[in-house]
């Protein structure tokens, strides 16, 4: 009798744990994917020819498994698989013969960012949707323009040289701050003359700054600005569609904020794309990453 009670209690608990557990992809993550896909019909590709989020599978990592969502003609399919990378990272990653967007679930991502910022950073569905688009754009870059992207800088260059060289040279830092400020002014400018005035000064400072840093640092900066900057531009454009009222504070007003590491290049790269939008809204159609975005601006302004 006693043994029966013990066994029944254990069985009941195990069944209870199984029945109440959440298995599979959460409703929140599914909603994020559906909202991200829905933006495609509203112009989410922002004009880059051949770019579509739905061309790339999106894998949500829940800490144990990947839930891979693939868009098909009549909707999406979900497949569970062993995680391709067993850690938290939002990235474009080669899987078999194609690229996929790998992202943590919203629950994982928000808890990580919340912990890292000591509760000071809010990361919600809209931010996650923008991240999916950012990474999907990297899939697009790697799928269609791998040679041009790889040619920007050698793959073996260590990202640490930014912190070691660019961030520790006071003159280079000062010049970069001024350049970023000029780009922010140009992005917010209402007429082309003002943009040109900013870009002329920007070019002078850029030439001066390039004399201060080793070639490999300049190449890596160009890589971040061109590859990550355009991806941030996509991310920002999507965020603007989702939360227009918070767009300025989240993206526009922080262009000139200087920080150590590579993020500052994402911001100036995005700003360059936005300036080009004002000068030539069709610049993206045919853009193949073979030249810096800033050169396109110089060409449009005859600077």
């Amino acid at each position: 009798m006693r043994k029966a009670i013990v066994i029944l209690t254990g069985t009941a608990l195990i069944i209870g744990v199984i029945v109440t557990g959440t298995y599979g992809l959460s409703k929140e993550d599914l909603a994020i994917y559906q909202r991200a896909v829905a933006l495609e019909e509203q112009g989410g590709n922002i004009g880059f020819a051949g770019f579509a989020l739905t061309d790339y599978p999106v894998a949500f990592y829940d800490g144990d498994q990947d839930y891979v969502l693939v868009w098909e003609e009549d909707g999406y399919s979900i497949e569970k698989r062993k995680a391709v990378i067993n850690f938290i990272a939002a990235t474009a990653y080669p899987v078999d013969d194609h690229y996929e967007v790998l992202t943590p679930t919203i629950q994982k991502m928000s808890s990580l960012l919340n912990m890292m910022s000591m509760g000071g950073m809010e990361y919600g569905e809209e931010e996650h949707i923008a991240t999916l688009w950012h990474e999907a754009f990297h899939c697009y870059q790697s799928t269609f323009f791998p040679d041009n992207v790889n040619a920007i800088c050698p793959a073996e260059v260590d990202g640490g040289i930014i912190a070691g060289e660019a961030d520790t040279n006071p003159q280079a830092v000062s010049l970069f701050r001024q350049q970023a400020q000029l780009l922010e002014e140009a992005v917010k400018a209402e007429d082309v003359d003002k943009i040109k005035e900013c870009i002329v000064k920007y070019k002078e400072l850029d030439e001066e700054r390039k004399m201060l840093l080793p070639g490999e640092v300049i190449a890596l900066e160009d890589y971040y600005t061109r590859v990550e900057g355009t991806a941030r531009y996509i991310e920002a454009s999507v965020y603007k569609m989702l939360v227009p009222e918070q767009f300025d504070s989240a993206y526009m007003d922080v262009i000139s904020e200087y920080g150590g590491g590579s993020t500052k290049y994402y911001k100036v790269g995005m700003a360059q794309c936005m300036i080009l939008d004002t000068l030539d809204p069709h610049w993206k159609n045919g853009f193949d990453f073979s030249e810096p975005v800033i050169d396109l601006i110089y060409a449009r302004l005859n600077v």
Partner: protein
């Protein structure tokens, strides 16, 4: 139940339970009544919704560690004093003997939790939450799952391995349980062999943080996730069954 009652009485007579509880209460009252200042990024935290979960975290952490301390020596001390021998000759089954002593440990942990909850009571009154005081009861019961889990694990270990090792393992497991979600994130960040190691370790460690989070939800009028609570209860069940199953020799020397 005579063994359990005797063991519990002895615990209540001891001063260490009250000293550690009193320190915990003091810390909680300092933060909870505004006498002390807790600040994040240089900004004083005074908001009830922010301070409450922090207090609950402190209650949980202090109580779990206190439970390890109070549960650790109960069974080994009985063997050391030879009391166990007197019990064996009266034909009391070992599972019952260990079980009652472990139950006394759990009850002592619940007593210290009740003492710590007195500070929560004062904290809520100080924050004009008298109408929500009733929520302290379900919150107390949910956090009691952690007390019982830690206590049973400590009792089990104290029977199997020497006291020092049992204390170290139980304290480590309790700490890991308190930081369960943090370790989960760490696992995802490090990846590789280290990540796999943490992944498997987390499966063996009770999610004390998860249970505490559910207690927090109840305290703030939300709904607790049954899955987390049932997993906590399952851990208690497993430790209890293992304690019943494990047989030690009757002439066992003190560990």
């Amino acid at each position: 139940m005579t063994i359990m009652v005797t063991a519990l009485k002895e615990k209540i007579r001891r001063k260490d339970l009250y000293i550690v509880s009193a320190i915990g209460v003091l810390v909680l009252l300092l933060f909870g009544t505004g006498s002390g200042t807790l600040s994040i990024d240089g900004v004083a935290v005074t908001d009830y919704k922010v301070l409450g979960p922090i207090m609950l975290t402190v209650v949980n952490a202090v109580n779990c560690m206190l439970t390890v301390v109070t549960s650790l020596g109960t069974i080994p001390n009985e063997y050391e004093r030879g009391t166990s021998h007197l019990v064996w000759i009266r034909k009391v089954p070992q599972w019952r003997y260990h079980g009652e002593l472990a139950l006394a440990n759990v009850l002592a942990g619940l007593v210290s939790e009740a003492i710590l909850f007195a500070a929560m009571f004062v904290f809520m009154l100080a924050n004009q939450r008298a109408d929500q005081l009733w929520r302290l009861l379900p919150t107390y019961l949910i956090l009691g799952i952690n007390v019982a889990a830690v206590s049973m694990l400590t009792s089990l270990l104290s029977v199997i391995v020497p006291k020092f090792a049992a204390g170290a393992i139980a304290a480590g497991a309790a700490l890991a349980g308190i930081f369960h979600s943090l370790l989960g994130l760490l696992k995802d960040m490090v990846g590789g062999f280290g990540g796999e190691l943490i992944r498997y370790a987390l499966k063996l460690i009770p999610d004390l943080h998860g249970v505490q989070a559910q207690a927090g939800k109840i305290l703030y009028g939300g709904r607790a996730e049954a899955h987390v609570l049932l997993t906590g209860l399952l851990a208690i069940y497993v430790y209890t069954v293992l304690l019943f199953i494990y047989k030690t020799t009757s002439d066992r020397t003190a560990r």
